[in-house]
Symmetry: C2
Subunit: 421 residues, 2 copies
Amino acid sequence: MPQPELPEPAHAEVDSMLSRKFGREVANYFAGSPLNRLSFLRTDHPFLSAALKHPSTSFLLFNNMSPLAKDPTQLEYVKLEDVKPLIGEDPYSKSEKQIIEEYNSTITIPQLLFLGLDESKISGFEHDIYHGAPYFAIDVTPKGTIKLKAEKLIEIIKSRGLQFVEGRMHMSLPAPQAAIYAQARALLDWNARNPFCAGCGQPTLSINAGTKRTCPPTDMASITEKGAIDSTIVGEPAKDRPDCVTRKGISNLSFPRTDPTVIMAVLSADSERVLLGRQKRWPPLWYSTLAGFVEPAESVEEAVRREVWEESGVKLGRVVIHSTQPWPYPANLMIGAIGQCIPGGEEIHLKHDPELDDAKWVSMAEVKEALEVGTSGLGEDAGPDYKEGGLRLPPRTAIANRLLTAVTGGFLEEHSHAPKM
Amino acid sequence: MPQPELPEPAHAEVDSMLSRKFGREVANYFAGSPLNRLSFLRTDHPFLSAALKHPSTSFLLFNNMSPLAKDPTQLEYVKLEDVKPLIGEDPYSKSEKQIIEEYNSTITIPQLLFLGLDESKISGFEHDIYHGAPYFAIDVTPKGTIKLKAEKLIEIIKSRGLQFVEGRMHMSLPAPQAAIYAQARALLDWNARNPFCAGCGQPTLSINAGTKRTCPPTDMASITEKGAIDSTIVGEPAKDRPDCVTRKGISNLSFPRTDPTVIMAVLSADSERVLLGRQKRWPPLWYSTLAGFVEPAESVEEAVRREVWEESGVKLGRVVIHSTQPWPYPANLMIGAIGQCIPGGEEIHLKHDPELDDAKWVSMAEVKEALEVGTSGLGEDAGPDYKEGGLRLPPRTAIANRLLTAVTGGFLEEHSHAPKM
């Protein structure tokens, strides 16, 4: 299978002082979106309504978090006419304020998400000074009161020979499509994963074009014995719900969650070897960089040193951040770093946090060779030049690969030259 | 008021290749914790129990997220005997499994948090190969079934002339204390803010020494009409609770949330000016760097370019990450970056996202002078050399100050030399 392309770094060609001093920016897979998110227009329902109805608009559908696609290398978008039976004529005809006032916890509203405008499409939609082809995503997973409509929609879509592709097919998408997929998946997953308010336990409502969940102060449904919920009695006024702290001021509970993680290529004190680790569930010979979640109240640099020590016993000094990668499974921000051992800090000890099956020091030459002949997706075959028994490493679309490529080649050299005059 | 010290970067003195090529690591305020978190021992109740009871152990108390302190420059810790009336003889005498099995949603368990061991304290606690003085934090906010006990404890503490200091006093703490405070505050706040499961709406239970919340499968309390909760009937078996998706495999909902944010010093294409912005609620003449939340599925570099364009209209090319700062209000990870305009991208337009009161380009010389004479906490007076009408900037404890200091001086020079031989 051909290696999927990586995104072009934005404006990488610009000969700025930062580019001269730090070299070309590294753009990782799932970044490099062609869309302008126009985040400040997400409460503007006249804008959203007009964008939804424009002929240039595309809808990306997800069923159980699997995207609609032609095949594993190409997403498939549908048109408004296709999704009207599920979402109705115009979900943005009422203001956000009205929708909150009319909230009824017994009615399932299909999850719709505004992704942004592709400004490269000249013949697209125009609004004020903004233009481009609009993109939306919809979660068509059959559930609640939209179960039958969603099942019908999925049936029609499948009858056209299209499919909702499961697994990690998206690692084969062209870079701009992978970024659109990642944005849609991360936000639809966050909405589906958080139907209740963590502050008060009551059901919540999606607003801000799919990028916020609010805990409405009233409900048109009536709460009955054992927490079961009745359908609305027509004409009844909305009932007040118990107080919730998220209604007083701004709460992070209302906004999407992104979990920062660290992933790091680790050099020995003499810079001649690289630390690699393997997880218990990986196939034999498979190794990668170490990684872990950033904890509350630690810097990225501290998280890198903590994780490396906890997982391998190795003690790091200087840590440098290399590049970052959004990772939509479900909502990580991978912060890639390069760390170097303090002198004598190389001893491996796997018994602090027994998470790894193994960790070992590998020569630069061996890593370099594996990057050339031994990379692929987990469990897939390596290329034809791979020699049996050789080290296996992650593919180019993984930031681990980019970090290892950096320490065995480009990155350190790029950063060691004096600025061009 | 004297400027509080900044933390020393860990192992900054090590003359590694990364240090030679990238210079000294920047350590920001709230980072630089002296504690080893030993995250892998948080489920080990015999370890936690022994640590809790050791004579070298310190407890940091919070009331409504305000920490116990002698004065604004010094936290105050208490001993186990002081807190026993609230937390009991040994909250870790039972295993985590037992505690989950005995879960009763009508009983308030005081929120206890293991912070780590201060390994610099030689005479501390020893466990296996680990040693140091243990630190715990406790939320003593009066609430639920512990209201009276907590009020009594607070009364006794206050009678000793101690206080729970509100506001941002902690910006005056010595760096290691600030890091301990930040860790405790971030995690206690997360527990207090998330009493319910966002997946199913049921109340949750703190486990893993305060670093995880689980949605127990059973409850010793009985659920009655209208969702009100009765006290346990002695001898009754625990009742099954409705299914929850967080009980199937690992869910991020069970773990603390940290919100990645970007904050960036922005240079003009010719590197001669810096972009500054001011928020509407700030005092006159106050400016800082621009900042904003990272959105799902964007890289840090993309978030920097998006936020700068949305808030100021300015168009960035190359972005370089500088350093990071944990920010415990309530749970941010500030990722500091330096960005540079594309040629001609300097035009300011405040009408995309009208969040800022003003944004403007300021000469390097003016920023440099303000960093010398015009910094302080928000609303505080500047130093004696400040000239009326001059630019005001944030203090050294803010990463914004460190970023501006970097672009007007050290950082770019540090990174422009060839490596030492």
